[in-house]
Structure formats: C-alpha cells, structure tokens
C-alpha cells in the first residue's frame, strides 16, 4: 500500500468515518438495551424518543432482581447451556467422523451416501418441523432434553465443512500412520482430529450460533419450564402481564452477556478457523 499521498490519506479518513458511523448505528440497539435494563420500567418507552434514551436515568438493579423474582431465569439459562452444549459436542464427534469416512476412505456406497448428505444440505429445518413434531410424539419425546438435542446432532452442513477441511490434509501423514499399522479409528482420533482443530473450532461456533437461539422448535415440543430454553423464556416473559420493559431488557442483557464474553475470547480463533476451512478458494 502506498502511503503518504493525499489521496490515500483521504481514503483513510473516509474509511474511519464510514466505520464510525456504521459502528454507532450497530451499537445503538445494544446500548439502548443495556441502558434500558437499568431504568424504571415506565421510562424505557417514555424516554425512548429523546437523547435520554441512552442515559441511565434513575439507574438501579431492581429490573434484574425482578427477573429472578418473576421467572426462573437460572433454569432457562441452564437448559440452554445443556441443550446447546450437547448438540455442539455430540455434533463435533459424529459429523467429523462421517466426514472423515467420506473424505479419506474408499468404500462401497460412499458416493451414493455422500450425495444423500448433499441433498439434505439444502433442506432447512423449518421444512420438516411439523412432521418431525409428530415423529417426536410417536417417540414419546415431548417435554425432554433429548427432543431438543438428538434431532440436531447430525448436521449436513457441519459434515460438509469437515469434509472440505479433511480433503486438504496432506495424504503422506496418513500413509505414515498406516505403515505404523494404525486403523482408521486410530488414525482419525490421533492424527486427523489434532490436525483439524481449526475446523472443529469453526463448526463448534457455527453450530452454537445456529442452536443457541432456537425458538420455533422448543415452542412446539416443550410445555414445562423444566426444559424451557432462554429464547422461549424471553418470549413468554415478554407477554407476561404486567408488561415491564425494563425487566424485559434486563432479561435480554443477562441472556446475551455471557455469550458475548465467550465470543470475545474465541473471536480470533473463529476468524482463523473460517479462513482455514474449505470456504476459501
């Protein structure tokens, strides 16, 4: 990059200006939510149309206390962690295994089955939600954790990402392992898995993002708060009279803050993971 010329300095200033404006617009809803979570309920809407929307008037923690008093927030949070955690970890295991079999092994039916996975890649969950709901009734799985976990473990998209990544691993390493007498299982777990860390990181994050916000499905299959995850908890809290926007915003902040922290920690790994997966050229 040339430096020092007037035009490139102008470009730099323009970049900053655009980024600053965009950043401000992006941050506005977040700031509003955080500020509102500390305000008395009537001021949330009352001050929304003024600059005071971003000023924590009469700040207190009472909205946060209200949330815990009015609903079982801790339970919802734990449910979400258990459900999403189980989907992600189990998904990493089974999807990477099948991807390895597709990418690295030659066996009868491989092409056919891989075609089957590719076809399912474009079938969105929503398209099967209703019949799956009936199927879950047949299984007797409504109102449980497994109904929110098991159907989502195997995922065509994750398989595809692992597959693309495994294709790039140099073959010589496996050959060396094969000469040492290692079978496919051992090769996979001791050689491929450590090599594929970035792919695991990427799939973990993608699948976390995909399932942490699940709303439609738990709405259909869960009646009791024993198994209710956060998004449904929020939607119900939002319609539970009296409508108190401060409380709702406090619920929101608590719902998103821990995830945000985790993501700030993993951010670098994520960018690197995406770069290292099959999405590049």
């Amino acid at each position: 990059m040339k430096t020092g010329t007037a035009s490139s300095r102008l470009a730099l200033v323009a970049s900053y200006a655009i980024l600053l404006v965009c950043a401000a617009l992006f941050f506005l809803p977040v700031a509003f939510m955080i500020v509102a979570s500390f305000k008395p309920d009537d001021l949330v809407l009352g001050e929304a149309g003024t600059w005071r929307a971003l000023v924590p008037t009469d700040a207190s923690l009472s909205n946060y206390a209200d949330v815990f008093e009015r609903v079982n927030f801790a339970r919802y949070f734990m449910n979400s962690v258990v459900i999403t955690g189980a989907i992600v970890t189990a998904g990493l295991l089974v999807n990477s295994m099948v991807a390895y079999a597709f990418a690295r092994m030659r066996w009868r039916g491989r092409k056919l089955l891989f075609g089957f996975v590719l076809a399912l890649l474009i079938l969105p969950f929503e398209a099967i939600a209703v019949p799956l709901f009936y199927q879950m009734i047949e299984f007797g799985w409504r109102n449980s954790y497994q109904v929110q976990i098991v159907p989502f473990i195997a995922n065509a998209f994750s398989i595809y990402l692992f597959y693309s990544f495994f294709l790039q691993i140099p073959r010589e390493m496996e050959e060396a392992a094969a000469i040492d007498g290692a079978g496919s299982w051992r090769t996979f777990f001791t050689l491929i898995v450590p090599l594929a860390k970035p792919a695991f990181a990427t799939v973990a994050i993608l699948s976390f993002l995909m399932h942490w916000g699940n709303y439609l499905w738990p709405l259909m299959v869960v009646d009791y708060e024993t198994y209710r995850p956060l998004p449904v908890g929020l939607a119900e809290f939002q319609t539970l009279p009296p409508i108190q926007w401060g409380d709702i915003m406090a619920f929101g902040v608590m719902m998103v803050l821990p995830v945000l922290v985790v993501f700030l920690v993993f951010q670098k790994g994520f960018v690197r993971g995406v770069a290292a997966s099959g999405m590049k050229h």
Partner: protein, 447 residues
C-alpha cells in the same frame, strides 16, 4: 495459509481442541443415557411421599390473578396431605396451540383451564371427561346459568368456571365531562354507534388529534372474537349461523356485518385507536376510553380513582351487546385422580375463594352466594353493570367444535380490517375458510 494450522494453537482453538478431545467420552455416555431414558413422557401420578399429584395448567393472566391462584394452591396444599397441586403457567397468546400440541402427545395435565368456547372442540376431540358425577349438586344449583350453559355440550357438563367475564367500555369521567357528553346509566341507554363516533372525534379534538380509544390491540389470541364479535351481534350479524352451525355465509359477511366492521375500520383510519404496546394507554391517561374486560378493573380503579366509569359497549342498531364466558376448568380423560382434581376445584368454588379471585381480577363471581356478598357487584356497586349485562345483553360465543378456526380467522381478519383492507373482501374470505373447515370436518358430527 494453505496448510491447515494444526500445530499452531491460539488460545481459543487450543482450549477448544482440549474440550473436543475430552468431550468424546462423556458425549458417548450421554447418548446412551438419553436413549435409555426415552420412554413416554408421562406425568407422575404420585409424589415421593405418596400424595396424589394433580397437574394443573392455568393461563398467565394479570399479576393479581396469578398471585391469587398461587395463594389458593398453597392453602389447598397446606390444608391436607393427600393431594398436591402442581401448576404450570401457559401464556394466553397461543394457549390453544399449546393445548393441542400437548393433547396429541398425551401431555395434558389432569386439570386444565381454558377459555370458554374452546371447550366444545376439546370435548369433540375426546380430551375431557364429564363432571356430572363429580360436581356436588349444591354447588351446581348455585352457579350462574351462564356458567352452566357454557359448560354443557351434548347434554353433559364438561366445565365449570369460578367467574364469568365482564366486557365493557371503561371511561375517564373527567375527559367525558370536558366534551360535555351524556354518560349512560346502564345497558338500555348505551351510546349509539353514531354518538360514539362523535364522542371519539370530540375527545380527539381536545387531545390535539391524539389516539383516545384503547381497544387492547396489543393482545393476541382469543381477545378479538371475545371483544369484537359483540359488535357484529349488536348490528344484527354474527360469527356463524347459530341454528345449524353449518355455515357463516350471509351472517358474517352480510350488509350488517360489513357496515359495522367498516365503522370500526374508520376508528383506526382516523387515528383514534391507540397502539397500546406497553398496555398503559389508559392508566397513563392518554386514552380516554378503554374497551376492556373485568381483569383491568383493579389496575384502572387504582390509576383513575373516582374518575373511572364503566359503560356498556355502544349500540350498533339492535341494542348494546357484550361478551360472556371466561376461563373455566375441565378435567382431562387422562387424569389419574379425577376426584382429587375435583376436590381442588371445589376448593376454588368456595364462596370465599371465588371472592378472593374476583376481588383480584374484577370478574363476576360464578356463584350467587358469592355475588350476594360482594360489594362491587351489589345493586349500586361499581361493577354492577357486568351482572346486568350477563342477564340482558351478553352473547355466548358459538358452541361448536369449529370454534378454534372461527376465532383464529376472526383474529387475522380483524387485523386486516384494522390495517385498511377492503372489509367486504376480508369478511368473504373469513366465511370461505370457516365454511371449508366445517365441510372438511363433515359438519362436526356429534357423538
């Protein structure tokens, strides 16, 4: 970066890699556990101490209502040690959807609360058991006729309510006095629709054109059919032909219905109706009129004090009409202990308990014994109008298993009308869907 970055480990990825490695074992173990624990999700019939469990679903309701039921459950559980009542709160907006989903998988509780007119559909589907053999005759004889009427289907009683509903027009007296308008005394001299339109205009002028009417459009679900089908009936129309329950054609889309709903559309078009997204338009004294039910009485009385007046809904031609029927209780066929469920229900139906609830939610007590003891519903009590309306101008919602479709169609149709769609076309579409549903169900044959 063409080589996979396997051996380099940033903080994030290194930690994750470890997690992945150590997760393999627990995950495999979890899967085994999950699959072994996947029997049908039957609700337990007894607790650890051998007490009978009665699972109850209730609607979320207003805060005071919820707290009252909380107390009632607690006192009932404390008063004896054979039965324990466990309650689950279900949001009102999609209550029926939840019931339907749970019914399919056998997850319904023992005792189910539901909004009046859904009863017929649940009975038709075989979800509820008759109460005739369980309900003490003395209580039955003391219940309001409207409560019994609501619970009857095919000659058997399937539900009882602790209260009946009151729907009216709450008004801010000081605002009405500002525009110098007559305040109706009762059902007989309700405002005519023309008068009502003029009042909206006058109130709006006084308020610099701001919205003055609260129609509770922040609600979702049953509210629309409950609150606004009386407008149709007052105009001489209805949701469905009540003789045959076979078609809505000519009834829901006749000229009377079109005229009445066009008038409602005008209220929206002129900006008189408050969006009320925080449900505070009336208590903040922005709206001067609130079309609402008994459940808002406590909140409103507290906010407006002596300025609160309760009026009958306006007369669209055939006299003022209002809704009736409310949340009531049925015992499901899958209940393990119907007698235990009825014991809890009998507890709720004690005059003291009825009054405790109606004091909290402003509803009309379901038993005469309770009405007599209530100051609010006495001859010159503030809510006497609700009792009078039940005798004079209340119309029950259609008693047909097709009701869930009717109310769903009416709700979305009302939204369309609110948003300015052609009234006649909207009503025709509603009729088409309702009639098709009836046809698809072979006319909902009985027995």
């Amino acid at each position: 970066m063409n080589q996979p970055t396997g051996h380099r480990s940033s903080t994030g990825i290194g930690a994750l890699g470890k997690i992945v490695r150590f997760a393999v074992f627990p995950v495999a173990a979890c899967c085994v556990l999950l699959f072994s624990a996947c029997g049908p999700s039957e609700l337990p019939a007894y607790d650890r101490d051998g007490r009978k469990l009665v699972h109850v679903w209730v609607h979320s309701g207003q805060a005071a209502e919820r707290e009252t039921l909380e107390t009632q459950v607690a006192t009932f559980n404390a008063a004896q040690d054979e039965i324990r009542v466990l309650k689950t709160i279900v949001p009102e907006g999609d209550y029926n959807a939840r019931v339907q989903a749970a019914a399919l998988s056998g997850d319904l509780p023992d005792l189910l609360e539901f909004d009046g007119p859904f009863l017929y559909n649940y009975v038709w589907q075989g979800q509820l058991r008759p109460l005739d053999d369980l309900l003490p005759q003395a209580i039955r004889d003391d219940l309001l006729p409207s409560i019994i009427e609501q619970g009857l289907y095919d000659g058997a009683l399937y539900s009882v309510g602790v209260f009946d509903s009151g729907l009216g027009l709450y008004a801010d007296r000081s605002r009405l006095e500002e525009i110098d308008v007559r305040i109706p005394e009762g059902v007989a001299d309700a405002w005519t629709a023309d008068e009502f339109d003029a009042i909206l205009e006058a109130l709006s002028d006084k308020a610099d054109g701001r919205a003055v009417l609260d129609l509770k459009v922040n609600y979702t679900g049953e509210w629309y059919a409950y609150a606004f089908s009386p407008i149709l009936q007052s105009a001489g129309a209805d949701l469905i032909d009540r003789q045959s329950y076979g078609s809505a054609d000519g009834v829901l889309n006749g000229p009377e219905a079109v005229a009445a709903m066009t008038r409602v559309q005008e209220w929206f078009a002129r900006g008189h109706v408050h969006p009320n997204i925080d449900d505070a338009a009336f208590v903040d004294r922005v709206a001067a009129l609130s079309w609402s039910g008994h459940w808002d009485y406590g909140r409103y009385a507290e906010a407006l004090g002596d300025d609160l007046v309760l009026l009958p809904p306006p007369d669209f031609g055939r006299g003022s009409r209002t809704g009736q029927g409310s949340w009531n209780w049925g015992i499901t066929r899958r209940a393990h202990h119907p007698d235990a469920a009825m014991r809890f229900l009998t507890h709720l139906l004690e005059p003291d308990e009825i009054l405790r609830m109606t004091e909290a939610n402003g509803a009309v007590p379901a038993r005469r014994a309770a009405i007599e003891r209530s100051e609010r519903f006495a001859e010159d009590g503030p809510l006497r109008l609700f009792v009078d309306q039940l005798e004079a101008s209340a119309v029950p919602r259609p008693r047909t298993p097709g009701y869930p479709v009717i109310t769903s169609v009416f709700e979305s149709g009302f939204q369309d009308i609110r948003d300015g769609a052609d009234v006649r076309r909207v009503l025709d579409r509603m009729v088409r869907i309702i009639d098709q549903d009836i046809e698809d169900n072979q006319g909902y044959p009985r027995g």
